[in-house]
Amino acid sequence: MSDYKDSATKKLRNTKNVTGSEAILLSFLEEGVSTLFGYPGGAIMPFYDTLHQYDGCFRHILTRHEQGAIHAAQGYARVTRKTGVCLTTSGPGATNILTGLADAYMDSTPLVCITGQVISSLVGTDAFQETDILTMSMAVTKWNTQVTKAEDIPEIMAKAFYIANSGRPGPVLIDFTKDVFSSKMSFDYESCTSLRTYIPKFQALPEQVDKAARWINTAARPMLLFGQGIILSKAEEELKLFVERSGMPAASTLLGLSALPVSHPLYMGMLGMHGNYAPNIMTGETDLVIAIGMRFDDRVTSTVSTYLRQARIIHVDIDPTELGKNMDTDLEVEADAKSFIHSILPLLENNDHSDWIAGFMLKLQEEQKEVFQKDLHPVDGKIQMGEAITKVAHSAGDQAIVITDVGQHQMKAARYFPFASPRTFVTSGGLGTMGFGLPAAIGAQLGCPDKKVVAFTGDGGLQMTMQELVTIAQEELPVKIIVLNNGYLGMVRQWQELFFDSRYASTKLKNPDFVKLAEACGIKADRVNEREDLDTKVEAAFAYPGAFLLEVVVENEENVFPMVPPGAAVTDMILK
C-alpha cells in the first residue's frame, strides 16, 4: 500500500490544483484503498483517463460485467474487513450493480460505489445513458448522494468511507456528474470520524450488561446464537472466551460461520433451515438464549411465533432497528458485539453445562447416523456433494477461504467445511444471490493473495456470472473453482420434489461443457465423474499452481437434509 501511495504522491506534487478525478484517487489513497473493481463507460471515462495516468498507483480489476465488479468488491471487503470499492458508468453500468448493492445491504458489507452520471446540465433530461440511480438505489444503500461540484469531493468521500464501514457496515453510492471529473479544485482531505445525524452506539448500558450476566449465570440450559456481528466487530477471540467462561453451547448463523472454529468443543453447529440438527432442535429446550450480532432472520426462526417460546431472550445488536423487529425479546441491547462481550466477560461465572451439552451430542449422533453417513460416506451411486466438499477441504486445508454461490452446494459447503479461522467463509446470505460466488472469489483472492481461495458453485449459479472466468484468467488469480454439477437448479428442484409433487418446472438444465468453457477462457480444467477418481483429480487441481476449474458430476436428485419444512417450527426439523 505505501508503495502505491508513494508513487502517487510523486506524480502529484501539487494538490492545490487538481481535477475532480485526481481528487477521487487522492481520497482513495487517504482511505488506504489501492484495489478497485470496475468497468468503464461514457460518463466515467474522464476518471478512467486519470486512473490510466496513475498507472502503478492502483490495481484496477476489469470484470466482464458490472455485477461481477460489485460482487468482487464484496468478496474483497468480506475477507479483509476493509471497504470494497466499485466503479461503474451511468445508466446500465449503474443499474447493473443494484443486485450487488442489495446483497451488500442485507449482508452488512462495507462498500463505496462510484457511478458516473451525465453532465450536470443534462441531468433530468433523459440524456444518453442517464438513469436516476440515486432514487433507484435509495432502498438498498446505507447512504447515497450525488456530487455536482468538484470542491465537495474530499468531504463527501470521507463521509462515504466513514458511513460504509462504521456502525452496522453497508454500501454507499456516490454518483458523480461527468463534468465534475475534469473540474479543477484544491484538495484538502480530512478523515470523517463523526457526523451530527449519525452516531452508532457502541457501549451497552451497564445495567443491561449486569442483567444479562445475572441471567446467564443462573440459567440452567443457556445457549448462545451468534452471527456475522462477531466477525464485523472482530470479536472472535472475545467470543471464544465468552463461551469457555460461561460453558454454554454456541451455534452460528450462516454468516457467522468461521467466527468460532468448527472443532471447538462448545460449537454445536449451524442454525436455520438446513443447519445442524442439534442446535435447531435444542432451541425448543433452552431456558435462556443470548443472541449476539444476528437478526433472527426467517431462515433461522422459521415460523417466528413458534421459536424460543419457553426461553428468555437477550438480543445484542449494533443496529437498533433489528431489536424487536423479527422477535420480541426480554432484553434488547444496542451495542457493538466486541464491546458488549468485553464488558460482560468479567461478570460471568465459570460454569459447566456438560449435562445440557450431552443432549446436543445425542442429537448430533442422530444427524451423523441419518445424514452424515449418506452424505459423506456413500457406497454406491454417483458422487455426493458432501463427499466432494470434504475431499476439497482435505486438499485445501482448513485455513482456505471458502466462497460459495447460492443453493444446495452452498448449504452443503456451509455444513461440511471445517472452518478454523475467522473470515474464511464468504457467501450471499440474506439476499441469496445466484451468480455471487465466482466474482466474489476474485475479490477474496485479491484481498488475501497468500491464501488458498476455493469457490464452490453449482451449474446454475455459475452460468449467471461465468464471464468472470476470463477476469480470473486475465488477472492470473489462482482461484480453485469447484462446480458441483447436478444438471438442475437443485434447491428449487428439491422444493418441487418435496412440496410440488415432483413437478420439475423449469429446473432441468442443458449445460455447456464446463471444461471446454473454462479452457476457452484460459483456465485449466478437468471433470470427475467417478468416485474412485475424486481424490486424485481434486489433489491435481490443488497441486496446479494457477486457477483451476474442476467439474464434479454429482447425483442429480440429491437433497439437502436436515430441513425445516416451510411453515413448520424449527423443532420439527426433519432428518430425511
Binding site: 435509495m138 450525488q146 449519525y198 432497528t321 424487536g324
Partner: protein, 89 residues
C-alpha cells in the same frame, strides 16, 4: 410523527420510503424549516399500530440524514366520529 433531518435533496424520498416499504399511506404531511439551522422538520400523520410505529421511528432514525424521529399516538377515534355524525343526522 415528526422527523428532524438534515435538509437536502432527496430527503423526503428517503423518509417516504420507510413508510411505503411497509405499505403505510401518509395521511398528511408538512415540511418546514426547524428552529435548528439546516434541519427540516417533517410532520406526518399515519394510521397504523403501536408496534409498527416503534419500528418506523427506529427505521427513520437509521437514515443517515435523520437527527431524531418521534411519535405521538392518537387513539383511533374514527368510530366515535362516525357515531357522532350518525347521531347528528
Amino acid at each position: 410523527m415528526t422527523t428532524l433531518a438534515q435538509d437536502r435533496v432527496g430527503l423526503l424520498s428517503r423518509v417516504a420510503m420507510v413508510f411505503s416499504r411497509r405499505g403505510i399511506n401518509i395521511e398528511s404531511l408538512k415540511v418546514a424549516e426547524s428552529a435548528m439551522k439546516g434541519i427540516a422538520a417533517i410532520s406526518m400523520v399515519v394510521l397504523t399500530d403501536a408496534r409498527t410505529i416503534k419500528q418506523i421511528v427506529k427505521q427513520l432514525e437509521k437514515q443517515v440524514e435523520v437527527l431524531q424521529a418521534f411519535s405521538a399516538e392518537q387513539p383511533d377515534i374514527s368510530k366515535q366520529i362516525e357515531n357522532h355524525i350518525q347521531y347528528a343526522s
